[in-house]
């Protein structure tokens, strides 16, 4: 009997030893003379179980995890290749409550298919969206995106259909599709996971975007910190070219970042592709009018583009039919930091923060009480538990002084020093500032100095007033979200955790 063994090639699994596990399983299979194919799939998103190894049986796929290379001998001896019971066994992965409760529209194939195989992608329903898009006329394509209610998943939440319509209507000799895969926010990894687990989905989404706006060339800008995603996308693009999916009327070129966080800002990213310092451009002109190499450009986040194939395949009404208020569709939430069940949880908008952190995430990994969560990366606000009834919804978060950003939730236990986190927000802004605008370039440095004085007890009232004023200046005077949103983590920490900013505070908290 031919068997297929799945050992994720996702970076989280690899970082936890998946390559060694795959090699050990290969050795055992060869030694036993078994007909075994090892597929390096993506991750299903249950990261506490990684490496989550699966084997095909008559009853479907059976999972085991987390499997350390030291577990492999025992696993094989117990009958792994026949799907036999073992203490690491979890049964059918899809029946795990963490997965079964999700509504996976975007991540439906991630962790299931072979990311290197276009045939596997098509066998699991891939390609239908592109075919449907080809059958529509130009107006109907844009109307489909608009009807889905999809809003940019990179953080700003701008309606994707309106952006594409603007580019489609622009008159120019060339237009570009640019995919922003510079996922630099701490606590986020959805872009990385989908590129490593279902790369053809992004290719299909970019190709549909090209059809919608009338572009024949797409750039995929991936951060250098993601070598596995770069490799997975390069392999998939090669396979797509070989199969004629790419190359004729649309092609994709990968560009690799170079460690600059601000290049995740769309205009800095365009500068970087053009071969310059990643300095933010003043807007207007919008990239939709004058973007890459001065041409109309649809620049979208990975998560926006990978939502597109489903919208065309199943119709925009299905996507628009789930969600909350003006936030339609699903959001791939990323549970990170000090959390027991970390990973990727795709769910319609409207679920509360508390349900995600406590019920789905299982609270902290350390077992200590949750004290704060940061949502939306390093520029997102810190939330205390008393705001955990806030639903995941762009407007609801804005109403309580926060932002969803790219959907990353980083959990901290009660050992966290929030003054230190506020200081880090300024410090990070100073390190990553592109230097173009004064509020960000100077404000971040002054912010670090002022928080140091505050913590030291040097005229605390005066420092507090200064930080508040500085935050206002940065928020309203910065060119982009780096300087403009750094006040979110700083001011939310000050508002919700003022006790940590007293000079004697560091001794009060644990750790």
């Amino acid at each position: 009997m031919s068997r297929i063994v799945y050992v994720p090639g996702d970076a989280v699994a690899v970082a936890c030893g998946a390559d060694q596990v795959a090699a050990a399983l290969r050795g055992h299979a060869d030694r036993l003379g078994l007909d075994v194919t090892i597929v390096r799939n993506g991750s299903r998103g249950m990261h506490w179980l990684e490496p989550l190894v699966e084997i095909t049986t008559r009853d479907g796929r059976i999972g085991y995890g987390p499997v350390d290379v030291a577990d492999v001998d025992g696993l094989v001896a117990a009958g792994f290749f026949d799907g036999a019971p073992h203490p690491l066994g979890i049964g059918k992965p899809g029946e795990q409550p963490f997965l079964a409760a999700q509504q996976r529209l975007t991540f439906a194939r991630c962790g299931i298919v072979d990311p290197a195989s276009l045939a596997d992608y098509i066998a699991h329903g891939g390609g239908v969206g592109l075919r449907q898009a080809r059958a529509l006329d130009a107006d109907a394509r844009i109307a489909t995106v608009k009807a889905s209610g999809l809003r940019g998943r990179g953080g700003a939440g701008f309606p994707t259909g309106i952006k594409w319509e603007t580019v489609a209507n622009a008159v120019a000799p060339r237009k570009y599709v640019v995919c922003n895969a510079d996922e630099g926010d701490s606590g986020t990894f959805a872009d990385r996971m989908i590129m490593e687990g279902d790369p053809f989905l992004l290719i299909e989404g970019m190709a549909i975007c090209g059809l919608c706006i009338g572009a024949s060339h797409g750039y995929l800008y991936i951060r250098s910190e993601y070598p596995h995603a770069i490799a997975a996308m390069a392999t998939a693009i090669g396979a797509a070219r070989a199969a004629g999916w790419l190359g004729a009327d649309f092609d994709i070129e990968i560009r690799v970042g170079a460690g600059s966080y601000v290049c995740g800002e769309e205009t800095a990213l365009l500068e970087s592709i053009e071969g310059r310092r990643g300095q933010v451009r003043a807007k207007p002109p919008l990239p939709a009018h004058k973007g890459l190499f001065g041409m109309p450009t649809a620049i979208n986040n990975v998560l926006s583009l990978v939502a597109i194939p489903h919208i065309f395949a199943d119709g925009p009404d299905v996507y628009a039919g789930v969600g909350h208020g003006r936030s339609r569709g699903t959001m791939p939430i990323q549970l990170a930091g000090n959390i027991r069940h970390g990973g990727l949880y795709e769910t319609p908008f409207g679920i509360t923060l508390g349900a995600l952190v406590n019920d789905i995430g299982g609270g902290t990994a350390s077992g200590r009480p949750v004290r704060a969560v940061q949502i939306g990366g390093p520029l997102g606000a810190y939330f205390p538990p008393h705001l955990f009834d806030t639903p995941i919804d762009y407007e609801a978060f804005a109403a309580v002084g926060g932002l969803i950003g790219h959907g990353g939730i980083t959990v901290f236990d009660d050992s966290v020093d929030m003054a230190r986190m506020a200081r880090f927000a300024f410090e990070f802004c100073a390190i990553e500032s592109c230097g173009k605008c004064t509020p960000c370039r100077i404000g971040a440095v002054r912010g670090v100095e002022t928080i140091d004085k505050l913590i030291a007890g040097d005229q605390p009232e005066a420092q507090l007033a200064l930080i508040t004023d500085l935050a206002e200046t940065m928020k309203f005077g910065s060119l982009c979200a780096l300087g403009g949103f750094t006040p979110y983590p700083v001011m939310s920490a000050l508002t919700h955790f003022p006790e940590d900013f007293r000079p004697d505070a560091a001794r009060q908290v644990a750790g």
Partner: protein, 155 residues
């Protein structure tokens, strides 16, 4: 640090990028991959080949954290300092690494054996703290596990 084929000349490394729009970042990556770093002499050649000023090349080279103007240590350890890793003790891990390696963050040990650098997010935030050692990623790190990895890499 692994590098590409050292027998290639600078011109040979740059040649495949002729005619590419916005080629400077791909060229800098390729040069660093081939030679380990991008020195002042290379800047002159890159500027000439891409028809840019040396100031343009210098500006880009010094803007991006990835690019090196002098060789790195034989082993490069990058430990993540971003929030999710901080929530799982990356500060203590960094302090441990600095003490164990007798090398402060952002620096290279005098014997050239290792460079210790920060990185801001490897996207492994659900399995923190994480690090990159000579291009390989590692998660769920403890001081003991880091010691074992370093012993393997530096032996």
């Amino acid at each position: 640090m692994t590098t590409g084929n050292p027998s290639l000349s600078l011109a040979e490394v740059i040649a495949p990028f002729a005619g590419m729009a916005g080629a400077l970042l791909p060229v800098l990556h390729a040069v660093q991959q081939a030679f380990g770093h991008i020195d002042d002499a290379a800047v002159v050649v890159i500027a000439e080949k891409l028809n840019l000023s040396r100031a343009d090349v210098h500006g880009v080279l010094t803007f991006y954290h990835d690019f090196r103007r002098r060789p790195a240590g034989r082993t490069v350890l990058k430990i993540c300092r971003a929030e999710a890793c901080q929530a799982m003790g990356s500060d203590a891990l960094i302090a441990h690494a600095e003490a164990r390696l007798a090398t402060p963050m952002h620096s290279q040990r005098a014997d050239g054996a290792i460079s210790l650098e920060p990185v801001y997010c490897l996207g492994l935030c659900s399995a923190a703290p994480s690090a990159m050692l000579d291009g390989q990623v590692f998660a769920r790190l403890s001081p003991d596990r880091l010691d074992a990895l370093l012993a393997g890499a530096m032996s």
